[in-house]
Symmetry: C2
Subunit: 200 residues, 2 copies
């Protein structure tokens, strides 16, 4: 397809497409003639990924570039690539030696505790903010949230495992980033549903 069709399909303006190409984030199209290049379905997929990370993930360009590099690196072990991708999606957290609130929560859930993983630091910050706001974070909540969140994550990973190998990392990144706002919105609708189905 031509650049105009690529733009129409993805909703990304032509000038922005050209910018991504100049920045090396999107491969050039196959040169057909002097002033015309041919773009494929892979360009569509790549553009959608970039836009998803920018719009929904609210990620800055430097971080998107970092994620694209991860995707393009060949021969990465699957787990490492996904872990790094999940990490890259998160804003940097202050690095510390230990995250005691996250550790206690993960211990209770029977999860491995890895202080080098950015999500661990984010979990610590999030629980800290809960406590700072004077709200509780106790075993009753952990026991309710833990299995529920695991059911969501397990569904994500089960479906990812069914992807062709070369799709695993980009799909993994989109899975992590794109379903998050759905979960958040769904929880708010579910609050009202739960409220309407109680008798107190």
């Amino acid at each position: 397809m031509r650049i105009s069709e690529l733009s129409a399909t993805t909703g990304v303006p032509i000038a922005t497409v050209k910018y991504y190409i100049r920045e090396g984030m999107l491969p050039r199209g196959d040169a057909q003639r002097a002033n015309q290049s041919d773009y494929t379905h892979e360009h569509v997929t790549r553009l959608r990924l970039i836009r998803a990370l920018a719009d929904v993930g609210q990620l800055p360009l430097t971080r998107i570039r970092q994620i694209l590099t991860l995707i393009d690196e060949p021969g990465k072990i699957r787990r490492t690539a996904i872990t790094e991708a999940v990490d890259a999606l998160l804003p940097d957290a202050p690095a510390r030696e230990d995250y005691p609130l996250a550790r206690a929560t993960l211990d209770r859930l029977g999860y491995a505790y890895d202080p080098t993983f950015t999500a661990t630091a984010r979990l610590e910050m999030a629980i800290h903010a809960v406590l700072d706001a004077g709200m509780p974070w106790d075993d009753e909540i952990i026991d309710a949230y833990g299995p529920a969140v695991f059911a969501i994550a397990d569904c994500d990973i089960r479906r990812l495992s069914a992807c062709p190998q070369e799709q695993i990392v980009p799909s993994g990144i989109l899975t992590v980033a794109m379903y998050e706002p759905v979960i958040v919105a769904l929880r708010r609708v579910a609050h009202i549903h739960a409220l309407d189905h109680r008798d107190d």
Copy 2:
């Protein structure tokens, strides 16, 4: 307590405390002497709520003021107050007559569909973004996410119901806003846990 102690307890600078008082978001302390006021535990709670909404909820001051007005309105029916509070926490979504993607999802989950509820519009936008990114939103995902998210929401509402009446709305707002980042971080840790416990 004095304003200096209120500031130390909550971590909010004295100048900011004074600003909130001038803006009518925080009640004045009881005047003790010409230059000294007395602040109570209620001031601490209120300040924590404002900071949580500003820092974690990333809400602008106008919206925080709107939420505080909801909280201060006496005699509100509980469901209405909580629904409006959940609504106020969400950024405005373009109002439409119908949200077909959200409607189909809520139908499948057996939830009431209310197009006037902001969370419904946000759900529509979030599912739309998923599809735009070329990712699926199908019955398998709905059937996995739905009950899991409901378990989380039900835990939230069950605990809220145990609050004293006058605490319901502020606690409800903090519950919606403060646990969201925990759920998001927990999902990312759970992804790695799920990945490590599969054999493919």
